[in-house]
């Protein structure tokens, strides 16, 4: 199969072929199993894409529903407790909460550093597999091999060398993430703030900046970055992580 075949199938499925081209595709589908398989795969892709987007939305709505239902349950159930019983239970709860708070206040309230540790994972390598057959193939592949193997110092050095020639935005972003992975937070922040990183990574950039600020315990800066990420909201899955983290950050005293 070549690129033209893939394009032909795509055009066939979105109905943009002329009648003669359409007939040609249909005739070929009868004879060429590989071609028919690609068509089936493309149809599957359309179905999977629809399902993925809408399942993400269903999850989002189910989360909203859970929050709203909890609110309703709480509002409805509280007045049904008799007042005398409520007072004795409330007194016991106050004592328990106070003792619990005194014993566990350090462990139970999240802090920036623990939130960083819970949420930081190095961003997936999506670049190297896309660049095969080009001039910088071996150097780029080696750089990303180091990144995938968590050899971040080597990856940073290689990305720095390569970024003047190619993929400046992408490699700058990966350098920033690599710095965070080896706990060089200040360098990570400076790199991630670099204007060389374009809007393709806008939401991801704010997410990693927020994590970096959390690691520094700069809670206000983390909140600003998370709100920016939430506003950009180009990736629903990351969007959920951002919302959850923002809730936790807001609960920090």
């Amino acid at each position: 199969m070549n690129e033209r075949d893939y394009q032909l199938i795509e055009d066939y499925l979105n109905g943009s072929l002329k009648a003669s081209e359409k007939a040609e595709v249909e005739a070929r589908l009868m004879q060429d199993n590989a071609f028919a398989k690609i068509l089936a795969q493309q149809q599957d892709l359309l179905a999977v894409v629809d399902k993925k987007v809408e399942d993400d939305l269903r999850l989002l709505l189910a989360e909203e529903e859970a929050k709203l239902s909890n609110n309703v349950t709480n509002k409805v159930s509280s007045p049904t407790i008799p007042i005398s019983r409520w007072l004795s239970v409330a007194a016991a709860v106050v004592v328990l909460i106070t003792v619990g708070w005194l014993l566990f206040r350090n462990e139970s309230s999240p802090n920036g550093s623990t939130l960083f540790a819970e949420n930081f994972t190095a961003y997936t390598n999506i670049i190297a597999p896309n660049r095969r057959g080009e001039n910088d193939e071996s150097r780029l592949s080696l750089a990303f091999l180091a990144y995938d193997n968590k050899q971040y110092q080597k990856a940073i050095a290689d990305f720095e060398t390569l970024k003047s020639d190619t993929l400046k935005s992408e490699l700058t972003f990966y350098i920033g993430v690599s710095y965070l992975a080896i706990n060089e937070i200040e360098k990570g922040i400076i790199t991630l703030k670099d204007d060389a990183i374009d809007s393709k990574f806008a939401m991801e950039k704010q997410w990693y900046l927020a994590l970096a600020y959390l690691k520094k315990n700069d809670i206000d800066a983390a909140k600003i970055a998370l709100n920016k990420a939430l506003h950009l909201s180009t990736d629903p899955v990351l969007g959920r992580n951002v919302s959850e983290l923002l809730d936790k950050v807001n609960s920090i005293e």
């Binding site: 987007v53 809408e54 989002l60 709505l61 997936t124 393709k200 939401m203 939430l230």
Partner: protein
């Protein structure tokens, strides 16, 4: 205007503003719609239809998804009525369909065995297996590739619109990026096929 978590808000009386925000990829507006219109939809459906609350909630969620789908896929490009009116109209149709489907619902045990031919079951299994592989492969791509694929195939954006929305230097660069993402997707699938 109701404020929502994370600073997002939505003026639902201006349907075109909502459409514009969805087209820009702002999903927070969907949460806002859900939160703002859910109580009224539940009360309205409870009076109009004999359906239990769980079903009404399912229908409301599905109505929001249908609304999103129509906007995202470019079937609904402008709205001269409020989002509430549009959404309740979808909800009404879905509730009527739910009631109709319940009436013609057959107990699966009463169907004859011949209704489930082996080859049909195999076909269904194969299709769901290959779609699962494809779904996993898509997840392994990372956000920029996923974004471009979802924008192109779900939201049916032109390459020019993708270039503008994602800030690529030119339409050609966006097109090349999409081609690379698709090549990578096929590579991942082929690797999994061989395992």
């Amino acid at each position: 205007m109701a404020k929502t978590r994370g600073g997002s808000s939505a003026n639902l009386s201006d349907g075109n503003e909502v459409i514009e925000r969805i087209r820009r990829g702002d999903q927070s507006v969907i949460s806002a719609i859900y939160r703002q219109l859910r109580p009224e939809f539940l009360s309205w459906a409870a009076i109009r239809f004999k359906v239990d609350q769980e079903q009404v909630i399912d229908v409301f969620q599905e109505s929001v998804i249908v609304f999103y789908r129509n906007v995202a896929k470019g079937k609904l490009t402008e709205l001269n009525i409020s989002v509430k009116t549009y959404l309740f109209a979808i909800g009404k149709n879905l509730l009527l369909k739910t009631i109709r489907d319940e009436k013609i619902h057959l107990d699966i045990d009463e169907l004859p065995a011949e209704a489930f031919e082996d080859w049909e079951l195999e076909k269904v299994y194969e299709q769901s297996h290959s779609r699962q592989l494809l779904s996993n492969a898509l997840d392994s791509l990372g956000a920029p590739c996923k974004q471009i694929i979802l924008m192109f195939y779900y939201r049916e954006f032109s390459m020019e619109a993708i270039q503008e929305q994602l800030g690529y230097k030119s339409e050609a660069v966006a097109r090349t990026q999409k081609k690379r993402c698709m090549q990578y997707l096929r590579e991942v699938l082929n690797t999994k096929d061989k395992k």
